[in-house]
Symmetry: C2
Subunit: 207 residues, 2 copies
């Protein structure tokens, strides 16, 4: 456990973020999608890679960890040249949640900091039906979505008074994918999420 | 020709940069390196793609067009997930030039703005020997380097009193490649260029 510091002590400056960890994850994800066509294999291998990434909280630059007072933030960290996958930092302030939405492609969610509540849904004859109980994901835990395994969910910050951060990987340039937000009746409304208006980290400097 | 404006008129604000043009170039370069293994084919196809890119000067965000008073700048615009290629904006102030250097991988240079002078060299028994006369490249023109076709050169701003900008594409994450600067005797000195300390443009927003 970290030793508790007196409230007024000046904290040591943050060490430089370990961008090599994120870069290594991206290179391995790219190898994975280059060598596997089956979504099942990508989700299995990608879950292991993402769990390895979010098990450590020493690499995300502060710029990509900032909550917005009004809405959750989606900071693009990397997009593959052929838009075969992308990596996004989702930052949730207190009380923030997504609408119920779908993805249309495979996706992986790994919690880096705080905790998130994910609730899956299916479409029933009379509207949306929850699929199982809400899941609480803590640091290092990974969840998956896709049209094959269940593509509709709602994600919320599970920390009532703090920030939570999750790292998401999708099988496309997710911010530009035409998908849906679903209302209680199950009706779909067009949804293109975009990204926070923010440049991308330079992961590629020599180390 | 642009109509000359009175010196004190307020210019219209720049339109938003056409990032879709750069994104399209990157996707097509990625397809090229995915489908061709021969350097010859990559240089031929890549030269055409780069010429198409630098023929238009409507897409480079101002952040990546800024000269530095003391040295030429190398702004990374994109690095492929597997480091198979990268795209860099080189910005040259008046009088700025590279040292004589090599690359170790294929490279393409396309002039976007201004003009550049490129001088190739070979190693001779008594030091560096110029290969042919200096070449002046103007806007839209493309040059190539590689260990196969000639890898040693020096590049200088050919505009004495202004900024020149060229867009470079390399078959690696060039900023991290261990290569050489060569002195007049032909002796090689270790050279890892890195990049300007600057985040990357977000090319991937929905349009
Ligand atoms: Fe989601
Ligand atoms: Fe060069
Ligand atoms: Mg890429």
């Amino acid at each position: 456990m970290a030793r508790q510091l007196p409230a007024m002590s000046s904290a040591a400056p943050d060490p430089a973020p370990n961008l090599a960890r994120l870069r290594g994850f991206i290179v391995r994800m790219a190898d994975l999608v280059a060598h596997h066509r089956q979504e099942r294999d990508i989700l299995a291998g990608g879950s292991d890679l993402l769990a390895d990434l979010v098990r450590h909280d020493d690499w995300l630059p502060e710029r990509y960890a900032r909550p917005h007072p009004d809405r959750y933030q989606q900071y693009l960290l990397h997009c593959d040249s052929r838009e075969r996958f992308c990596v996004v930092s989702f930052v949730w302030g207190p009380g923030q949640a997504t609408p119920v939405h779908d993805h249309r492609v495979w996706g992986l969610v790994g919690v880096l900091r705080g905790a998130e509540e994910a609730q899956g849904f299916a479409r029933g004859p009379d509207g949306l039906i929850p699929v199982g109980p809400p899941q609480i994901l803590g640091p290092g835990e990974v969840d998956a979505v896709s049209p094959r395994i269940g593509d509709i969910h709602r994600v919320a910050n599970a920390v009532p008074d703090g920030t939570s951060i999750s790292i998401h990987v999708y099988g496309a340039n997710i911010g530009a994918v035409a998908r849906s937000v679903l209302d209680d009746s199950g009706a779909a409304h067009p949804f293109i999420s975009g990204y926070a208006d923010c440049p991308l980290p330079n992961l590629w400097q020599p180390v």
